[in-house]
């Protein structure tokens, strides 16, 4: 039995339901002749091994309770958008949804991390037909949603690659270049957003 106990299957089902709900939000937008909400979605359930590692790192007891309550990112969904404003549209729709409550928001777009990381993080409390760790039906599961543009996503992949290479000769220099690159990508995102807005003003 792993750290998720009897709930591992439910986690996958909740994730599928969450993806389905987000896809539905997109379909509604498209049906109303609005641009699509996002470019693509990716998702994962954190592996039991890395969840165990996380609980140990955070000093939580290695229990299913810790994994599903203290940690809120067992389920993770990333919404990758074309433009910055699409992120705002997604957020507005999520805030209005009746199948989830927003527990926490972290805006790393307005307040980029010092290394240049940009993304918008939201923790959702999702209501589901499945029993939760407290024995409730309908059950409540947490999920972390990361919203970012394609440019921010590419940047994060590159930064991730660097983080896991341990024999980089000059990490400070590479870090500086990554930061500069993040600022340039942010500049392009803003530029594309502005052009899009100027195009739409002429409608």
């Amino acid at each position: 039995m792993n750290i998720y106990g009897n709930y591992e299957q439910s986690l996958h089902k909740v994730m599928d339901q969450l993806l389905h709900n987000i896809q539905e939000l997109n379909e509604d937008e498209v049906n109303h002749h609005h641009p699509k909400l996002y470019e693509h979605l990716i998702s994962r359930v954190k592996t039991p091994a890395s969840m165990t590692e996380k609980c140990q790192r955070k000093g939580y007891p290695v229990t299913t309770e810790s994994a599903l309550r203290n940690c809120k990112d067992a389920i993770g969904v990333r919404i990758v958008c074309n433009f910055i404003d699409d992120i705002d549209r997604c957020l507005t729709l999520l805030r209005q949804s009746d199948w989830c409550d927003i527990v926490k928001e972290k805006d790393y777009i307005t307040n980029a991390k010092p290394n240049g990381y940009r993304s918008y993080h939201v923790i959702l409390n999702v209501t589901t037909p499945y029993k939760d760790v407290d024995g409730n039906v309908p059950g409540h599961y947490y999920a972390e949603i990361q919203l970012r543009t394609i440019a921010m996503d590419s940047w994060a992949s590159l930064e991730h690659e660097m983080k896991y290479k341990h024999h980089i000769k000059n990490p400070e220099r590479i870090g500086k270049e990554l930061k500069r690159c993040a600022d340039q990508l942010a500049s392009c995102d803003v530029q594309m957003q502005t052009i899009r807005q100027l195009i739409n003003e002429h409608d």
Binding site: N111, A186, S187
Partner: protein
């Protein structure tokens, strides 16, 4: 500063070289126009001081050749000729400044100092305004967050900040931000650049705003 001095009167050349070296400048001295052209090709100078009447090639001929090669160094002409026409010819040929002999050494050194101050100011890449820092060298805009600027955005923003709280017309901005070589620049360029800057100011979380409608005038305020 490194200075090229082209002067064929031996006595005067020696005095000038000595005085400028004493003021801390590095001076290369030649005595004819051709040598001036040759050295200008070889070395990077901050200032060139050219006498007009020189053997082999006159200062004017040398100047024209130096400019034709694309060299934009500050050039000061020295001459005994005090006619207005000569000054006009020199300035039109690409000179930046003019001194008529006899001139005082003090004045020459004061002009060099003034030039040095100006160059230093232009090198000052970091501009502060309200909660904003603009680094025109790195081309970044920093407040709560940071973002890159294009060269046009950086120049436009710099000009607006140096003239903060003043109404600046579209023409004004066009003339100060787009080079003469960019003949195709039009008021739309100003509008797009202002639009980008507005979003960027917002995205770094600054309180600084650019006011104005599409046809201008524009004004930057805290």
């Amino acid at each position: 500063m490194r200075i090229l001095l082209a002067e064929d009167e031996e006595q005067l050349a020696r005095v000038l070289k000595l005085a400028m070296e004493k003021a801390g400048y590095t001076v290369d001295q030649v005595a004819d126009g051709q040598s001036a052209v040759d050295l200008a090709k070889e070395n990077a100078y901050d200032v060139m001081i050219l006498d007009i009447m020189m053997p082999v090639k006159t200062g004017l001929e040398a100047l024209k050749e130096i400019r034709a090669s694309g060299d934009r160094t500050h050039v000061m002409m020295l001459t005994a000729m005090a006619e207005v026409d000569d000054k006009v010819t020199g300035l039109d040929a690409g000179a930046d400044d003019y001194m008529t002999k006899p001139f005082s050494l003090k004045e020459l050194l004061a002009r060099l100092r003034s030039l040095e101050r100006r160059n230093d100011e232009l090198d000052k890449d970091i501009l502060q305004f309200g909660d904003l820092t603009v680094d025109t060298n790195e081309q970044t805009l920093v407040s709560n967050n940071s973002i890159s600027l294009t060269s046009k955005e950086a120049r436009l923003l710099q000009y607006m900040i140096l003239n903060a709280n003043k109404d600046l017309s579209v023409d004004d901005l066009l003339n100060h931000t787009w080079d003469d070589d960019d003949e195709s620049a039009d008021p739309d360029d100003v509008w797009f650049t202002v639009s980008y800057l507005r979003r960027k100011l917002e995205s770094v979380g600054s309180n600084v705003v650019i006011n104005g409608e599409k046809d201008g005038p524009f004004k930057i305020t805290e």
